[in-house]
Symmetry: C2
Subunit: 453 residues, 2 copies
């Protein structure tokens, strides 16, 4: 221990103290702050039971790398002792050959269970479920079930949800809760305290639906059922972790980039560039169409250079109103307040909304030009009223177009099979920019023909 302490700095010694005494969630937080080498050294010095607790926390960063760095035998014991769903998470993120080596160190039944969980696509119910749940045959009594739960309590992720299977077919029949169980008489059948058939999900149910189902029915666990047989359960704490991850992904994507799968400060520099450059280039290439649009109006630009002054102002208003509409529709779709077939209802709402918002901005814009002209801050020339009218009318058109297309984009993406949350604010802005320019110059051609143009 002396030798061990000597290689660590003061901070690490403090961490070692935390490791031994604090709540495991705080231990994990402390470990996450350490460089990986120090974390591994610390973990090697921790008692085995504590090690299991630490690795059972999904908040532990780089858990796969840490597990792989442990001596092989210890890592095998660790995977066996920890909860099955976390063990599967760790193996899923591990590269070969470390993954196969670790799997080889496990007992065949556990290996088979883990391999079957790993076979399901990431994010599906089966991929995050645990197989450590309580299920009892339908001919047991309340007393026998309670005795059984007392015995297995330590090895089950939750004992609050109890599943009752048919004693012959082993198909899932009913569910009950520990709170109902303790109110029953010991000699009564377990079915006497059971609720109706529980709400279930299939192995391929996606995590968004899982979160919605568990929150809608106020459940602590959700059984994953295939052909009537219960394969495992997804517990509410996994759902919460999932929801936090999902929110992060949504915000990143709405910001116009690929979602990061690691914490911001731990992400490698090149990986970060990769996640951001793709969308940035795609948006840049699309936005190049604005240069083409401007080129085709070059004649007008030369005649009325005053028009260029308002280009950024007008284009950004279209993007802003579009971004508002998109964020509204993304959330309404995610919360299932609206479905794909409601697109026309949304369009009918956004059309008048856009017209009113555009009119408000248009009036503000006209006032701005009139004020500057009146107080002599800037001279827009003798046709300043026509220019103000052009700006005002263009704003009505562009904000309406922005609201409409911003609200329709998530529908369009969903329709062609993409996640509607990929409709980012920059995406909408880019979509609106080119059309915005065309609207602006078309309005200018109509209003200013014969005077400036």
């Amino acid at each position: 221990m002396n030798e061990f302490a000597s290689v660590l700095d003061d901070e690490a010694v403090a961490v070692a103290r935390v490791l031994a005494n604090d709540h495991v969630a705080d231990v994990v937080e402390a470990l996450n702050r350490e460089p990986r080498e120090t974390a591994i050294e610390l973990l090697c010095a921790v008692p085995f039971e504590r090690l299991v607790e630490i690795f059972d926390q999904p908040e532990l960063e780089s858990a796969p790398e840490l597990a792989a760095a442990l001596p092989r035998a210890k890592a095998g014991k660790l995977l066996t002792a920890m909860s099955v769903d976390r063990a599967a998470d760790i193996l899923r993120e591990l590269d070969e050959p470390a993954r196969s080596e670790l799997l080889g160190a496990l007992a065949p039944p556990l290996r088979a269970t883990l391999l079957s969980i790993l076979g399901y696509p990431e994010g599906s119910a089966a991929s995050i479920m645990t197989t450590e749940f309580v299920s009892v045959p339908s001919d047991w009594t309340v007393g026998r079930t309670l005795d059984y739960i007392r015995k297995v309590e330590r090895t089950r992720e939750t004992v609050y949800a109890i599943y009752i299977t048919d004693k012959d077919t082993q198909l899932l029949l009913r569910a009950t809760g520990l709170r109902r169980l303790i109110t029953g008489e010991p000699q009564d059948s377990i079915l006497s305290v059971a609720d109706r058939m529980p709400v279930t999900v299939t192995p391929l149910t996606d995590r968004e639906t899982l979160a919605q189902t568990i929150s809608k029915y106020d459940l602590l666990a959700l059984p994953v059922v295939d052909h009537g047989k219960i394969l495992g359960i997804v517990t509410i704490d996994d759902i919460i972790d999932t929801m936090v991850e999902e929110t992060t992904e949504d915000v990143h994507r709405f910001g116009g980039m690929e979602a990061l799968d690691e914490p911001y400060m731990k992400m490698g520099f090149l990986a970060m560039i990769q996640k951001r450059a793709g969308w940035l280039c795609a948006l840049f290439l699309s936005e190049m169409l604005t240069a083409n649009a401007m080129q085709s109006y070059e004649g007008e630009l030369e005649k009325a250079i005053v028009l260029t002054l308002f280009i950024p102002l007008i284009m950004s208003s279209g993007g802003n109103s579009g971004s508002q509409a998109t964020s509204l529709v993304i959330r309404a779709l995610a919360l299932r307040e609206i479905g794909l077939r409601d697109w026309w209802r949304v369009a009918l709402r956004e059309l008048p909304t856009g017209l009113v918002l555009g009119s408000i901005l248009g009036i503000v814009g006209i006032c701005r030009i009139a004020l500057w002209q009146y107080f002599g801050f800037y001279d827009y020339g003798s046709h300043w009223m026509l220019i103000a009218a052009t700006v005002g009318a263009a704003l009505v058109g562009i904000v309406t177009f922005g609201s409409l297309s911003g609200s329709m984009l998530p529908f369009a993406l969903k329709r062609i099979g993409f996640d509607p949350a990929s409709a980012s604010a920059p995406f909408v802005a880019t979509l609106v920019d080119v059309t915005g320019l065309v609207i602006y110059f078309s309005v200018a051609l109509v209003i200013l023909r014969g005077t400036l143009l």
Copy 2:
């Protein structure tokens, strides 16, 4: 019942069937789809116990209005029978005089409890807690506690978390879970199956911290403690509802508007305009600075109209990179991966990231101009190489500035006491636009001096 059925259409009859038989969560969903008048008629016909179940669902829309529309005596009985936290929610959203009238119909002790909950600010732990939890004095045995739980089970929101208070001072001492309790011997002291002092929150803890605490420590309930006394508990299902709401608010705000507090399709038209027009006007007014910036470069614009062609392209790139950086920092702050004092670390990351991303876009931009010139799509004049260099260099500067200011904006907002999530994509874009123009024209002045300018 005949008379009642005659005023309802076929769909409502189907709903009435659902009301009687389906899972309460599905009943609520069906009711939410009905117009308010129909919903009230249906609720009047429902057995009282079912009515309580329905109103206990936070998913029931317009619950306060529905409760106020019930006969006063029935509404009073309803509020008494339902869970205290939901009753407080309903009263909080009710306007006067309906609120005082309903409170008047309640028994004095319940009224006092509700008034004390209502006295706490919205969103605080005390405002969403329930006072229906299980707590027992420290001198009880395991058996006595179990008997007590069996008796009160039906009136408690959760019995899975059990709080042990000092038998004399009534201060919170320890916590345990029902799963530990059933493993104990009936004659043993309750303290023999208790864990250490539980993680607690104060009455004023905000809901974001609640969600983080409950998810970090994997709890089913979190006790709200004031001066050592336990006032109530916040349960995990309330937290999930809170998290969903919070995500919606974050997405709305990131889209550049005030968060909606009602579903998109149910929001009144004027209320919707209000929520959107404020930010839209604020952004519009700020963006007007671009017109001022353009005015001050009017001389350059007239000499080199070709420069205007790239204004939308260059400005949008700054906004896009800023939006990416903002979304990253907002989430990292929300997840506590970084704190306020880490701003310089983030700046040190965003500076090289912005330089690299800007260089990538700059090279793409230069290639675009060279290709168009080479293939004769457009003639940028004899100085096209200088123009390409201007665009390229401006992109490096603007994307770097965008990444930097986008990442610093959430810190700045947090520093002055605002929610960092108010840093919306349109906000960042507007911030970057004015500076972007200045950067572009400054670069142009340096590179093109003596040739075009």
